[in-house]
Every structure is written in structure tokens, then in C-alpha cells.
């Protein structure tokens, strides 16, 4: 996979048109695109709707299966499927988070979470699907618990960021929550025992070799021992933690800066996503998608990353989101200000 002789290419499979305003986010439905189940993707937009796209097993092309509309009254900024794929959460500038259920092909809004004072910017399910986190311009991070009959209860409202919170993301295996903000920091939130008492256990700021401007996104590797973040400061940073200690129940395992990728981007980087195979994809305001992999030429003990490929003019305008699909098909989805979603396939020719 990482042979220096291999030539990698990001091949455009399809351009999905349908949204009438910029597309802010994409989310692959879990357990689709594998084992013969057609891949399903959700996209959310400034046009206040969410589109559901499904890949045809016969032709391989994606078709619009549903449009989730007439619920959000403003931009839908972010969406994420629950781990089972049964529910879809959508976060909107209208200050609410909607929960949708697929009822025989029709998506029904079964719940609406209110509480944020203004724009909700991100939503994230934990690994078991029992908790949901949201964040927004009101500087707060909310944790919600999923109860029987698809009811939600607010478990905690976390204050700490001093500015607009751009994204929340749960750790892939532990109930530890990460948030990143316009205040240039990443915060780590954990529960005190089982008391529903959540608090900030670490802040990754400039003094920890952190970012010097707004952090737009973060993503974990499959193991959960590394995290990648991207920023308005034009860098991508990789962080690491002792996963063994985390799993042994040690609540306060600190994250440390491992590597900074600078000089690769000259405009804001809006999105990063780590694939199951270890490839980091970035989407930036220069309309390009870049892929990075761990470099085996680095000094022993010091992880370093190299650019695998740069796809210039991936879109006609800013790339707002990138997300890898299932491993089986090496598909990458991207969303852009140009109003389209693109599906890419990573191929290699040795």
C-alpha cells in the first residue's frame, strides 16, 4: 500500500447535483457499501435540506433517494447517522438538531432537540449510539442521551470554549468527547465516574504546539490512538495518546502533539477525515482535496506524514467536507460551495 513505486489516483466517479445552495457536509450510512448492501450517503446544505443518495447495485451510480425538507428553517450545517444507521441527526443554523428515522423509504423527523441559543454547527453520535453531542456559536457543547422510544434527554451543557464551537466528535471507542473552536483550541471532555458530571479534562492550545487560528475539524484513526485536526492557520496537526492507558480505565490520558503538516495548504482547511486504511484526506478553501499517509522514511519513534496526492480543482469552489466510505470500495465523498457532492475512488497502478 505504501510502496514508493505505486501511483495513486483519485478518480471522479460521479458528481451529484440536486442541492440549490452550498453543500456543507456529507455522511456515509454505516454498514452500507459492504456485503452487497448498496452504499448510502446523506448530504446537507445551505438550501435547508438534506439529500439521501443511494448507489445502484446494477450501474454503480448514485441516485437521489429522498430529500429531507420542510423541517429546518435555515442552513443544515452537519449530519451524522447513528452507528446502527437507523437514525440520522441533522444540525442547523436554526438552532435545532433534528432526528430522522427511515420509515420504509420515507424519512420522518421523530425528534427535535432545542436548547442552543443560536446556530448549531455540528452533531456527533458516540460509538454505541447512546449519546449525541452538539455544539454551536453560543460557545457551548451539549450532550444528549437517547432514551427508549427515541426520546432525548439533555445530560450536560458544557461551557469552556470562549468562542464559536465548530465541531464535536466522539472518540471511536471510548465515551470521550472532543470539540474544536474559533478560540483556536481543542477541548477534551470526559465523565467523572458515572455521575453525568462531564468536564473538560484537557485543552490543546498554542502552548501544546496547537493551532494558531480557528480549528474547523478533527478526525480519529481506527485505533483511536491518533487524532488529526485542521485549521484556518493552514496546517494539519496529528495528535496521539496512550490508548492502552485509556482502555484500562485511566480517565485522564493526555493527548500530545505528534506532527504538524505545514506548507501544503495556502487557504483554510475545512475538513479532515482519517480512513480505516490510514489515509488522511483534507478538503480546503483552494478547491483541492489532498491525501496524506504516514511516512515510513521518518526517524524511528517520530511519526511523520507525507503527501500522497493533491487533487487540484476537485470542485469549482471551496471543499467543505471530505469523508471516506467503507473500506471495501475505497470511496471518498466531498461537499462543496459549488452546490455539488462528488464521489471519488482511490485507485493505484503499480
Amino acid at each position: 500500500m505504501n510502496s514508493a513505486d505505486e501511483n495513486f489516483e483519485l478518480r471522479e466517479i460521479q458528481r451529484l447535483e440536486g442541492h440549490t445552495d452550498r453543500v456543507w457536509g456529507v455522511a456515509w450510512k454505516p454498514a452500507t457499501g459492504v456485503n452487497g448492501v448498496p452504499a448510502v450517503l446523506a448530504s446537507c446544505s445551505g438550501d435547508k435540506t438534506v439529500c439521501i443518495w443511494e448507489q445502484s447495485p446494477a450501474t454503480g451510480s448514485f441516485q437521489q433517494k429522498a430529500v429531507l425538507e420542510e423541517t429546518h428553517t435555515r442552513t443544515v450545517r452537519s449530519c451524522m447517522w447513528s452507528p446502527s444507521g437507523k437514525l440520522l441527526a441533522t444540525a442547523s443554523f436554526d438552532a435545532t438538531t433534528a432526528i430522522w428515522e427511515d420509515v420504509a423509504g420515507d424519512f420522518e423527523c421523530i425528534s427535535n432537540l432545542e436548547g442552543h441559543e443560536n446556530e448549531v454547527k455540528s452533531v456527533s453520535w458516540n460509538a454505541s449510539g447512546s449519546l449525541l453531542a452538539t455544539c454551536g456559536r453560543d460557545k457551548s457543547v451539549w450532550i444528549w442521551e437517547l432514551l427508549p422510544h427515541n426520546e432525548f434527554d439533555c445530560v450536560s451543557v458544557l461551557q469552556g470554549h470562549t468562542q464559536d464551537v465548530k465541531m464535536v466528535q466522539w472518540h471511536p471507542s471510548m465515551d470521550i468527547l472532543f470539540s474544536c473552536s474559533y478560540d483556536n483550541t481543542i477541548k477534551v471532555w470526559a465523565e467523572d465516574g458515572d455521575s453525568d458530571d462531564w468536564h473538560c479534562v484537557q485543552t490543546l492550545g498554542e502552548s501544546n504546539s496547537g493551532h494558531s487560528s480557528t480549528i474547523w475539524a478533527l478526525s480519529f484513526n481506527t485505533n483511536g490512538d491518533k487524532m488529526v485536526s485542521c485549521s484556518d492557520d493552514l496546517t494539519v496537526k496529528v495528535w496521539g495518546a496512550d490508548i492502552m492507558r485509556m482502555h484500562s480505565g485511566d480517565g485522564n490520558v493526555p493527548w500530545a502533539h505528534l506532527c504538524t503538516l505545514s506548507g501544503y495548504h495556502d487557504r483554510t482547511i475545512f475538513s479532515v477525515h482519517w480512513s480505516r486504511e490510514g489515509i488522511i484526506a483534507s478538503g480546503a478553501a483552494d478547491d483541492a482535496i489532498r491525501l496524506f499517509v504516514e511516512s515510513i522514511d521518518g526517524l524511528v519513534g517520530e511519526p511523520s506524514y507525507k503527501l500522497l496526492l493533491k487533487k487540484e480543482k476537485a470542485h469549482d469552489m471551496d471543499v467543505n467536507a471530505v469523508q471516506w466510505g467503507s473500506t471495501e470500495n475505497s470511496l471518498l465523498a466531498s461537499a462543496s460551495d459549488d452546490g455539488t457532492v462528488k464521489i471519488w475512488q482511490l485507485t493505484s497502478s503499480s
Binding site: R22, G46, R74, T75, R77, F93, N118, E119, K121, R137, D164, K166, Y182, S213, T214, D232, R267, T268, A285, D286, D287, K313, D316, M317, D318, D338
Partner: protein
């Protein structure tokens, strides 16, 4: 919003003489800084019944274009150091110029160096695309922007 004007006595300048630009004076693809200036010079200031040009908030030198990279930089000078209308002026500029260039062009808006007490934080907010987009969805701000863009020329 304070009751009195933040800057009650702005300095008003005469409007610069306009050059008539003919249809064929530029190609469709070229982005001409003076053409952009023509488009924004008459935007009305959010607080005063004068254009941004008359208040010297904008001048011909405000616009720089890098055609090769596809970048446009607009630098404006608020009338006073603690101007709280800077973000509104930024919104007006973006809204006015929306769809005005080929889609791949990037627009950065900044206050002139030294012209505002919170220069760094103002520049950050002026260029946060998500904040700009959400602000333009806010009915109150939207109305203010529309008033600045669509008042008749004075």
C-alpha cells in the same frame, strides 16, 4: 445598538469623477479592480447617509486582484478606530460582490492596517465564511445590509 451615532461627525469627501466604462473595455474572464470598485463605491455606510467612497472607507486602492491565483483582496478603512459597524460593511461588500466573479475566485476582506483597535479579531470574523453565511441569514442584519446596498445614490 447605541442610540447616538458612534461617529457623529464623519469627514465627507467629494465623489471622485466617474470614468465611463464601455461594454468592450474588458473581456468576460478578466477581473478588473476598477470595475469592482465601481460596483462597491456607492454602498451606503450603515450609519451615515453617505457612500463608502464619500467617507473614504473605500478608494480605488482598496481593491487588489491576483488573476493568476484567482484572489481578490479588499481593504477598507473604517471611519474611527472603534467602529462597531466593520462586520456589517464586510457583509455588504460580500453580498454586493456575490456571483460577480468566476466561481473559483476567493475574496478576502480586511481593515486597513492600523485602522481599527481590534484589527486581528475583526479580520478573523470578516473572513470566517460560516460566520458570514449565518449572519446573512439573520433577518435583522439582512435588512441592514439591504438598506446599505439598495438605497438610491445620493
Amino acid at each position: 445598538m447605541t442610540l447616538g451615532l458612534i461617529n457623529a461627525n464623519p469627514v465627507v469627501h467629494a465623489k471622485k469623477e466617474r470614468v465611463v466604462r464601455t461594454e468592450d473595455s474588458h473581456t468576460d474572464d478578466a477581473v478588473d479592480p476598477l470595475e469592482i470598485y465601481d460596483f462597491v463605491r456607492d454602498i451606503r455606510d450603515p450609519e451615515h447617509p453617505y457612500s463608502l467612497e464619500q467617507l473614504s472607507v473605500l478608494s480605488e486602492e482598496s481593491i487588489t486582484v491576483d488573476e493568476k491565483l484567482g484572489r481578490i483582496l479588499i481593504t477598507f478603512t473604517p471611519t474611527i478606530q472603534h467602529c462597531s459597524m466593520v462586520t456589517v460593511i464586510g457583509l455588504c461588500l460580500r453580498e454586493k460582490l456575490k456571483d460577480h466573479f468566476p466561481p473559483h475566485f476567493k475574496v478576502d476582506i480586511k481593515v486597513a492596517p492600523g485602522s481599527h483597535a481590534n484589527e486581528e479579531s475583526v479580520n478573523k470574523q470578516l473572513n470566517d465564511k460560516e460566520r458570514v453565511s449565518a449572519a446573512l441569514e439573520n433577518p435583522h442584519l439582512r435588512q441592514l445590509v439591504d438598506e446599505c446596498l439598495y438605497s438610491s445614490e445620493l
